[in-house]
C-alpha cells in the first residue's frame, strides 16, 4: 500500500493538507461513495450531515444548484463540486497520483470511466426508484386515505427487474473476463462506486426483501463474490460503520 504522504500528493502538486468538507446524509447512499474514496486515499475530511430541509435553499444551493448531497468543498484547491460521479473523478485526478485506485492511461483508463458512468446512470437511479416505491408502499400500509391508489406492484416489479438486470450485467462481465474487479487486475474507483447501493439490498431497508441475498448468491455468483471482496475492504467497512453510527444518532 502506498504511503499516506504519497497517496495524498496530487498530480498538480496539490497536497491534501487541509481537510475536505463533505456534505452528506446517512440515508442516501451517494454521499458514502465519496466517503469510501476519501478513506481509500487517506485524504483528511470532515463530514457535515445535512437535514433534507436545508438542501434546497441557501447557503447550500450555492454549493450544489441541484440541492442534493453529496457535495464537497476542497480548501486545498478552492473548488466546490457536486454530483458523486464528478466528485470521484476529481478526487482521483487531484490526489491519486500513485494510481492506487485508477489507471493513468490506455484502455483501462477509459474502461473505468465507462463503468463509473454506468453506475451513476444505470445502477443508482434504478435502485433508488425501487427504494422509493418500497418506502412508499410500506408507509401507506396504515394510511387508509391512500387506499384508492393501491396497485403499485407493477412499479415495484419494474425496478426489481432492473436491479436483477444490473447485477446480471456485472456478473456476466466478471465471468467473461475472469477478473476479480471490473477493470484490469485491481480494485478501482469504478468498483467502489457500486458499493453503497448494495447496502440497501443486504441490510435494512432490504429493498428486494430479506431473502434476496440467497438469490443474488445463486443467480449472480460472480457479482456476489465481487461485492464480498469490496465490502471486506477497510475503507468500505469504515464508511459503512460511520453511516450506521450517523443513522443511530438520529439523523
Amino acid at each position: 500500500m502506498a504511503s499516506i504522504v504519497q497517496s495524498v500528493m496530487g498530480s498538480a502538486g496539490v497536497k491534501a493538507e487541509k481537510p475536505i468538507k463533505l456534505y452528506s446524509h446517512p440515508g442516501g447512499p451517494n454521499p458514502w461513495k465519496v466517503a469510501i474514496i476519501l478513506n481509500e486515499l487517506g485524504i483528511p475530511y470532515t463530514t457535515e450531515l445535512m437535514d433534507f430541509g436545508d438542501l434546497k435553499k441557501e447557503p447550500f444551493e450555492s454549493v450544489n444548484p441541484n440541492g442534493r448531497v453529496p457535495a464537497i468543498e476542497d480548501p486545498n484547491t478552492g473548488l466546490k463540486l457536486w454530483e458523486s460521479g464528478a466528485i470521484i473523478e476529481y478526487l482521483l485526478e487531484t490526489y491519486d497520483t500513485s494510481h492506487a485506485l485508477s489507471y493513468a492511461s490506455g484502455s483501462e483508463k477509459w474502461e473505468a470511466k465507462c463503468w463509473l458512468h454506468f453506475q451513476t446512470s444505470g445502477q443508482g437511479p434504478y435502485f433508488g426508484q425501487r427504494a422509493w416505491f418500497i418506502l412508499l408502499t410500506s408507509a401507506r400500509r396504515g394510511l387508509s386515505q391512500y387506499h384508492s391508489e393501491k396497485n403499485l406492484t407493477s412499479c415495484l416489479d419494474r425496478y426489481g427487474n432492473e436491479i436483477r438486470r444490473v447485477l446480471g450485467v456485472v456478473d456476466a462481465h466478471l465471468k467473461k473476463t475472469g477478473g476479480e474487479y471490473l477493470v484490469g487486475d485491481k480494485c478501482t474507483f469504478a468498483d467502489l462506486a457500486f458499493v453503497p447501493w448494495h447496502w440497501l439490498l443486504t441490510s435494512p431497508p432490504h429493498i428486494m426483501g430479506e431473502g434476496f441475498g440467497k438469490e443474488w448468491r445463486e443467480e449472480y455468483p460472480q457479482a456476489w463474490a465481487w461485492n464480498e471482496r469490496l465490502q471486506a475492504r477497510t475503507a468500505v467497512a469504515k464508511a459503512r460503520e460511520d453511516r450506521q453510527a450517523a443513522m443511530q444518532a438520529g439523523h
Binding site: S11, A12, P65, N66, G67, L79, L81, W82, E83, S84, G85, A86, E89, Y90, E93, T94, S107, W110, E111, K113, C114, L116, H117, F118, T120, S121, G122, G124, P125, Y126, Q129, E149, N151, L152, S154, C155, R158, N161, R164, R165, G168, V169, A172, H173, K176
Partner: protein, 253 residues
C-alpha cells in the same frame, strides 16, 4: 483522419453522440441498432457494451480499437482525444472542466433516468398509473427548473445562456438532447423561459441539425403536431420498448 464506429438509435442518448461527432467534424460510420429486434443484447454487441444499450463507439483511429460505452464517457473520450482546441469542452482538470463534468453527471443520473421513467409510464406502460406518471413528470420539471435557474444565473453573471464557462459545451449538448424530447414525456416547457431560448439556439446549430437525423429521420416533433400522428408514432415506439422489456423480464425471472 478519425475512424470511428457509432452504434446508435434515434433516441435522446443516441442523438447526443451523433451531435457531438458532428460538432467535432469527425468521420464516423453509423451502425443502426434495431432495438425492436433486441440487437443490443446480441453477443457481438455486448463485446462493445456489456450493458447492452446504445450508444457505444469503437474508435479504430489509432490502430488499437478502443470501445467506449455510456454517453457521458463517450463525450468525454471524444473531447479528450479530438477537441484539442476546446471548441465544445474545457482544458482537462480546469475549474470549468469539473463544473462541466458535474452537469454531465447530473444529466445522466437525473434528467435522463427521470424523463425516461416519465416516457415509460406516460407512453409505454400498458396500465396507466397516475401516481407514477405524476411522480416522474414532476421530477423532470424539477430538474428543468434547476437547469432554468442555472441558465438565468449564468446570463445574469455575464456568462451568456450556457451552463458552464460562457460558451456552448457538451454539458449543454447532453441536457439539450433530453429537453428536445420534452413533449414526448408529456412535459411542458412553457414555464421555463431561459430553457426555451437556450433550446431554440441549440436546435439551430448546423451540427445539431445533422446529428439529430442520425441514424434515421427525427420524426417525433413533426408527428406530435397532429393527434393521429402522435398516436401512430406512440404505437410504433411502444411496441419495441415493451418487447425489449418483456425479454429482459423473462431472462431474469
Amino acid at each position: 483522419m478519425a475512424d470511428i464506429d457509432l452504434y446508435t438509435a434515434g433516441t435522446p442518448n443516441g442523438q447526443k453522440i451523433s451531435c457531438t461527432l458532428e460538432e467535432l467534424g469527425l468521420k464516423y460510420t453509423v451502425h443502426k441498432i434495431d432495438i425492436a429486434k433486441n440487437v443490443q443484447k446480441e453477443d457481438w454487441f455486448l463485446e462493445i457494451n456489456p450493458n447492452g444499450r446504445i450508444p457505444a463507439i469503437v474508435d479504430k483511429t489509432s490502430g488499437t480499437p478502443q470501445r467506449v460505452f455510456e454517453g457521458a464517457a463517450i463525450q468525454l473520450y471524444l473531447c479528450a482525444t479530438y477537441d484539442t482546441q476546446h471548441t465544445i469542452s474545457f482544458p482537462y482538470a480546469s475549474a470549468e472542466y469539473w463544473e462541466m463534468l458535474s452537469w454531465l453527471t447530473w444529466m445522466q443520473s437525473g434528467i435522463g433516468p427521470m424523463q425516461g421513467q416519465a416516457n415509460h409510464f406516460y407512453r409505454y406502460a400498458p396500465t396507466k398509473i397516475a401516481y407514477a406518471i405524476t411522480r416522474y413528470q414532476t421530477e423532470t420539471k424539477r430538474l428543468y427548473q434547476v437547469l432554468n435557474d442555472r441558465l438565468e444565473a449564468q446570463r445574469g453573471a455575464g456568462q451568456g445562456l450556457w451552463l458552464v464557462g460562457g460558451k456552448y459545451s457538451i454539458a449543454d449538448l447532453c441536457c439539450f438532447s433530453w429537453v428536445n424530447w420534452a413533449e414526448w414525456a408529456g412535459v411542458e416547457t412553457q414555464g421555463f423561459a431561459a430553457v426555451r431560448t437556450w433550446l431554440e439556439v441549440i436546435q439551430r446549430r448546423p451540427a445539431v441539425r445533422r446529428g439529430v437525423e442520425v441514424p434515421e429521420r427525427f420524426a417525433m416533433k413533426e408527428a406530435m403536431r397532429t393527434r393521429e400522428g402522435e398516436e401512430e408514432y406512440a404505437k410504433h415506439h411502444s411496441n419495441w420498448v415493451m418487447q425489449g422489456m418483456k425479454e429482459d423480464e423473462e431472462k431474469h425471472k
